[in-house]
Structures are given as structure tokens and as C-alpha cells.
Symmetry: C2
Subunit: 449 residues, 2 copies
């Protein structure tokens, strides 16, 4: 016996559908994290696969998340700041929301302390996107991260390995052993890092659809509700929203391309800002919605309508763009790109894709678009692999849009002709058409309490 | 990619309820057995837990068993001998059947090549029991094992680590990771070792009940049927019988005590051999049954009745005892114990247990009796632990027996007074009574085709 029970006993209990106590879960994680582990990888794997099989009760998931959060440094920012927010998206194709929402929220007077990942998949994570800005630094010590928040009300940093190291160790194991696909484990992984930062307010954007990890609204809702309960159990005002991820978000997929698009969204000309069409774009709508949720959560506004108006004003006035400028400068980046987004390098081989028929766009398969971006080199399959900042796609085709034959539908940025040809062919096949009008599908599927 | 598919792909497929091909299973086992394994323990654990969860199709289990059998040396005894038999019991409390059946079968003219384990649990395995005979050797090379069979028609050896090493490696991992409880994995583990020996005929005794690994007849029947199909798929004439394990088998539990009892069963006096009661004891009945099944399987007899008669004759004539004598001598043991079984040492502290009431025995909880033997020191919890040969219990109380108050019901052999007292108290609680007559429960539950 090396703890409240032996590891095998705990594995067997979970395997047989039983539950572990918080003490047992604490012991399991602490023992796994010891240098000369009382619990080797194979026992942890057995436990993880048993969790994939049997699931976890809410109290078990809360205990696991807290144990993982406690495995390293805890910033507890909410003890230093009266208000400090964080947001997290479960990820989708073309999801550059952090780059848009964080400056807007900060410009509205709610400080944002965001640690983001590099991520695996079709493009890099928020950090890879930020690093396509020349000179931009994202690796900070916990103290420097806190100082950035203090001085600028905004920090956009890479996830610190000092925070929730149990998550890093467990995630690497899960990736190797086919134990990623478990809602409690996904919730604990995401939330352990959030709890270690410890904001006052947290917004979770849970994506649903073929381009997201959660394919069904039911699964997404379950994950969202679980994360909300974990956050609240840890004393963080936590809100979640479900949003659609069947077609790519916005019009770009690719690291630098997405930074460009984020900047364009933050700097509409006066004429554009007065055009209702600008505010109806998915990027703008989601930005207003997420900002409003965070402002209401923090108590800075009372209603979502007030929150959206504050967000709109922060964009119109240039305050949000100025905030992004400020944080780029503070983090060592080349801020001229704010005013000249085309300074961001694009891949040398570009090609256009024109419509080959008249009609309405019925579908733009987000998962396939992600796979194309990945094939162009925008993403990474393995931790530590480099990502190409300059490749990707700009897709003007959105579901419900009407085109005539021969119109520009997409542009592709690649490193060579064969890649370009591959991307053109695959993208053509990923877009489906209708002869009759198609409704624009809902973007925001609902909040989760 | 390191094979037909990556290990994670195979794990995920099994996790999601899919099946692996024989090639994929071969690759998995071969890669796991490589020195610098392409497959680390944590990936194999994930696969094993997924198998506990999802099960395996019969073809998968056959492929796994064959892959494990091929992981080391293969004796293929059936290429050297026209007839050569093996038997295996899934194990129970007081199960000393190999010590009785193997000499009887060999004395009937069917050579027996038996490799046995040391086992975990309430007492040691057959090998530990044999080693309570002074001087008895059980570790032989594959060649010496084959020579023993050739010269004596009988060898009782410890499982060779040269045979089916994948089973040893996998079993150690399963023990550590809570992945023992899976019928396909149990079947593959048992049968891989049998296939590596490669007899012409194989008898499987699958125990059912509270003292056995299989608690229900349905599970035992599933396991038995699966093992029969694996054996036959490998070209071995395989038969299985289900037998009861709710009360201990015979009247002794403990290593040396069980050897004594086996010898007593093989050397009835003329008067005893003429007493039908002797042949009605569970040990004698099961011996005749198992011998008959093997003799019929091999074609040496046509019916079970003929087989039982041959077995009875081998015991009556002393031929079976002479065969045991011969093999003890051949393996270096002190054969005088054949004629003076009480030479086998008994533990220094002995104590009797008398009935405290009149009535019929309704139950003798085999699992609890096993736990008492274990607590006395007869068994091992971990591989490599020593077992005490001299401790154990002799229990005269059998279900259905009628006792008056004050009769001798059991004797306990322990290493000290506290152990003795513990065993007396626990044994008293393990035996339940009835005021009305109780039927003797069935011993042989049926053959499995």
C-alpha cells in the first residue's frame, strides 16, 4: 500500500464502474507526478482507459481538475486584480477569436490574462498565429505575465509549463494511448490550466460540428456544462456558449492569414463600420457576443445588449485596435502590421479558385478545409513540429451565399505548385452547392448554464 | 507508421468496438516483445483495457493466442510422440488434481507432458506443491523435459520461461494494471502456453463457483468453449469439463497437505478400494472423469465408462502410484514419501476444530478457506514470494455431511498460536449449517464442446 489504496485497486474500481474519492484522485495525481513515480505510465494509462469507458461523476471530475491545477504553480490572479478575465475556445477551423475578443474586452475595461496553446491540428494554436507577427514574444515567466496584465490590462502568452504540469504529462500519455476522447478528461485538461491562472471571470466557447472536436450539440452541451460546473466549484464566474463549426469561421484559415483577418475586423473604416453587413459577419457577431458575455459576467454591464454596444463602441472608436497595438509593442512585436496588415508575409505560390457554376453555397466542409490547411503545412501533427506561418486559404464562400459562375470563391497560399493544385482540387470538392436558396445557418447555438 | 497500422490506431479501433486482423495482432505482439519495443507498456496497457471493455471476436482471440505461442520456443511435442497429453485446471481451493490425474493417465498408457505454474493466491501452484517433496526438481530445459516424457511417459515441470514469453510479459502487465479480468485474455494466456508445448490431447478443467476465478457457470462455459475452439484451431484435440468449486476440493488445503492427500488417493488399501465410499469422494470421482475424458480424446478408449474403468484399474493395481514413484525418482525427489506420506513435514502448531452443534453442513465457503490458507502462509500475493509448504487445513466437513456436536470437523497446521486461533475462528464462520438434510451438490457440471 502506497496511499489510501493501491493504484491497482483504484484502477479496478473505475474499471468496474465505481467512483473514486477526492482523496484518492489527489493521491493518484500526486503519485504520478513524483520523479520516481509510485505510479508508472502503464497504471495511469489503465486508469485513463477505464475513465474513457466508464466516465466520471461530476465530483470526480472536479477533484481531478483541482488536483491537476495544484500540480504546479498557481497564479490565483483573482487575488491580485479585482477583475480579470480569461477566455477559451475548444477550437475550430479558422478560429481566431482570441485575437479579436481579447483586445475588445480589454478595451472595455475588463483586463484579460490569456495563456494559449500551440495546439495540434489543421493550423497552429493562438500562439503560433501570434508568432507570425515579426518579433512577437509569447514566452513569459509567471511574474512577467502578471506584470503585463497589470500594466496593459492584456497579456497574450504561451501556456506556461510551470502551470498544471500534470496536464502536460497526462495529455502526452493520452495522445499515445488513444485516451483523448473522454468528456471528463477533456474538461479536466482545459479547466486545470484555467484554474491555475485563476481569473475572476471565464468564458468558454465550445465549438460544435464537423470542424470541431465535439461533433454533436449534445456532446458539446455536456462538455460545456461540466466545465461551467468545474469553474464555479473553483470560485470562478464561468459562462459557456455553444457555437457552430460546420464551415470555417471567418474567411481565412492559416496562421498569418488569420492574424490579418483579426486585424481587419478590429479596424473597420468609418464607412465599413456604418455598414450593417460588417456587423453581420460571423467574426464580428461572435466578437460582440463573447465580449458581452464576459462583460455581463464581470458585472461591468447588466445585459448582453449593453455588452454588445460597449464592444461595438470599442471597435468603432479604435480603442480595441489601440489595445492590440499596445500589447504587440509590449510583447516585442512589429506593430506596424496593425496599420499595414499586408506586411504579414504570404506564401510565395498563390492561386485563385473561381466558381464553376451558378448557385447557392450549401456547405463548406470545415474538417476538410482544416485538412487542406494541414496539408499545406499550416498545422502540426506532433508536439514540437514547426508550423508554416505563411500558408493557408482565404475562402469567400460562406453557406447561403449566392454566386455566379466564374466569380472569385477562394485564394490559396502554398509553398509550391503541387501543393497549390492539391489544395484547389480538394477545396473544390469540399464545397457543395444548391440550385435553390440556402439559409444562413445559426452561428450561436446558445448559452450553457 | 511502424507496421500495418500505428499502435494508437489499433488501440482506438479496439476502444471503439472494432476488430483487429490477425496480421495486426501478430505485429502488436511481435513489436511489444522487441527489446527496444516499438510498443511501450503504456500502449499495450491501453490495448488490454480496451479488450477488457470491448472483448475480442473468436478469430482475434485465436490470433492473439497463436501470436503469444509463437513468441518463444515451441516444443510441438505432437511431432515427436504419437500420443501425448496435457491437462490444465483454471484453479480452485484444494485443487491437487494434476498430482492425481497425471500419474493415472500415464499409467493407462497415455504419456503426460505437464508444465505447471507457481501461481498466485491461496496456495502455491502445482509446482509449489511438488516442491514440498524433499529434493524434487521441477526446472528443466525443453530438451530434458522432452526426455522425461520419452523415458517415463510423465513429466511434471515448471512452466519454462522459454515458452510463450509474451504471456509472462503480458501477465505481469495485466496484474499491475487491472486488466486480468477478461475472458479472451484469460483464454489466450492459458492456451498460448499449451500451444507452445503442443500435445496431441488437452483436457481443460474449468472451475466454477465462489472459490474459482469464474463465479458463474455462464462465464465458465464461455471461457471453456473459447479455449476448446482455440485448441482445436491449433490442431490439438481439446476437451473441457466444468466442475464445481463452491467448497474446497478434497479434504486438504495447503501445499504439503495436498501432496499427502493426492498420494492417499493413489494408494487405497485393498479394503478401501473395495469400498464404494472411496470412489465416491470428490477427488476419486474427478480423477476418473478427467482420465476418461483424456483417454477417450486420444482414442485409447471409446467410451467414458471404459476410460473410468481403466483409471480405476490403474489405481487398484498400484500402477498409478508406481508411475508417480518413478517420476519423483526421475526428478530427484525423496520417493519414500509415496509409502510414508506422513514423512511430509507438517507445521509445528496444530489444532483441531470440533463441531459445536448437530446438523448438516450447508456450505464450506471455498473463497474464505482459501483466504485462511493464504493468511497461514500457504500462498503468495506477489510473483517470487516464498510459500510455506507445511501450513494449511484439513477439513472433513463436506456439504451434505451429517455431524453430531463435538465431532472432529477440521485440523489446522500453523506457524504459531495467533495464526492458529485466527484460522479456527475464521473457519468456524466459513462453515454454515442446516437443521434439515442437505443434498450433496453436483461436482461435475458438464462437458463443453
Amino acid at each position: 500500500m502506497t496511499g489510501p489504496a493501491s493504484a491497482v485497486d483504484l484502477i479496478r474500481r473505475k474499471r468496474d464502474g465505481g467512483a473514486l474519492t477526492a482523496d484518492e484522485i489527489n493521491w493518484l495525481i500526486a503519485a504520478y507526478m513524483r520523479k520516481r513515480g509510485a505510479i508508472p505510465d502503464e497504471q495511469m494509462t489503465a486508469f485513463l482507459m477505464a475513465v474513457v469507458w466508464r466516465g466520471m461523476a461530476e465530483e470526480e471530475t472536479v477533484a481531478l481538475t483541482l488536483a491537476m491545477a495544484r500540480s504546479g504553480k498557481q497564479l490565483n490572479l483573482r487575488e491580485r486584480f479585482p477583475l480579470v478575465a480569461d477566455k477559451h475556445s475548444t477550437g475550430g477551423v479558422g478560429d481566431k477569436m482570441t485575437l479579436v475578443v481579447a483586445p475588445v474586452v480589454a478595451a472595455c475595461g475588463l483586463p484579460v490574462a490569456k495563456m494559449a496553446g500551440r495546439g495540434l491540428g489543421h493550423t497552429g494554436g493562438t500562439i503560433d498565429k501570434l508568432e507570425s507577427i515579426p518579433g512577437m514574444r509569447t514566452d513569459f515567466t509567471a511574474d512577467d505575465f502578471t506584470s503585463l496584465v497589470e500594466r496593459h490590462g492584456l497579456a497574450l502568452a504561451a501556456q506556461s509549463s510551470e502551470l498544471a504540469p500534470a496536464d502536460g504529462k497526462l495529455y502526452a500519455l493520452r495522445d499515445l494511448t488513444g485516451t483523448v476522447e473522454s468528456i471528463p478528461l477533456i474538461a479536466a485538461s482545459i479547466m486545470s490550466k484555467k484554474l491555475a491562472v485563476g481569473p475572476t471571470d471565464l468564458l468558454l466557447d465550445v465549438k460544435v460540428g464537423r470542424g470541431a472536436f465535439m461533433k454533436t450539440e449534445a456532446d458539446a452541451r455536456t462538455l460545456a456544462a461540466l466545465m461551467v460546473r468545474i469553474g464555479r466549484a473553483a470560485g470562478i464566474r464561468t459562462t459557456a456558449t455553444l457555437t457552430a463549426m460546420d464551415q470555417p469561421l471567418g474567411t481565412t484559415v492559416g496562421n498569418a492569414l488569420e492574424v490579418q483577418e483579426a486585424i481587419f475586423t478590429l479596424r473597420p473604416t468609418k464607412r465599413l463600420a456604418n455598414n450593417p453587413k460588417f456587423w453581420r459577419s460571423d467574426l464580428a457577431r461572435l466578437c460582440l457576443h463573447e465580449t458581452a458575455l464576459l462583460l455581463r459576467s464581470s458585472g461591468l454591464v447588466e445585459t448582453l445588449e449593453q455588452g454588445e454596444e460597449r464592444a461595438r463602441e470599442a471597435i468603432r472608436s479604435g480603442a480595441a485596435l489601440a489595445k492590440l497595438d499596445e500589447v504587440i509593442v509590449a510583447q516585442g512585436g512589429y506593430s506596424a502590421i496593425i496599420h499595414e496588415p499586408y506586411h504579414i508575409v504570404a506564401a510565395p505560390v498563390g492561386g485563385a479558385l473561381h466558381t464553376q457554376r451558378d448557385g447557392w453555397i450549401a456547405g463548406v466542409a470545415a474538417d476538410e478545409v482544416g485538412a487542406i490547411a494541414m496539408a499545406l503545412g499550416a498545422g502540426r501533427a506532433r508536439k514540437g513540429d514547426p508550423v508554416a506561418p505563411d500558408v493557408g486559404l482565404r475562402i469567400y464562400a460562406k453557406i447561403g451565399a449566392n454566386f455566379e459562375k466564374g466569380q472569385l470563391m477562394a485564394a490559396i497560399f502554398a509553398h509550391g505548385e503541387p501543393d497549390l493544385k492539391m489544395a484547389q482540387e480538394r477545396l473544390l470538392a469540399a464545397i457543395t452547392w444548391s440550385d435553390t436558396p440556402v439559409e444562413r445557418p445559426p452561428l450561436i447555438l446558445g448559452e450553457v448554464e
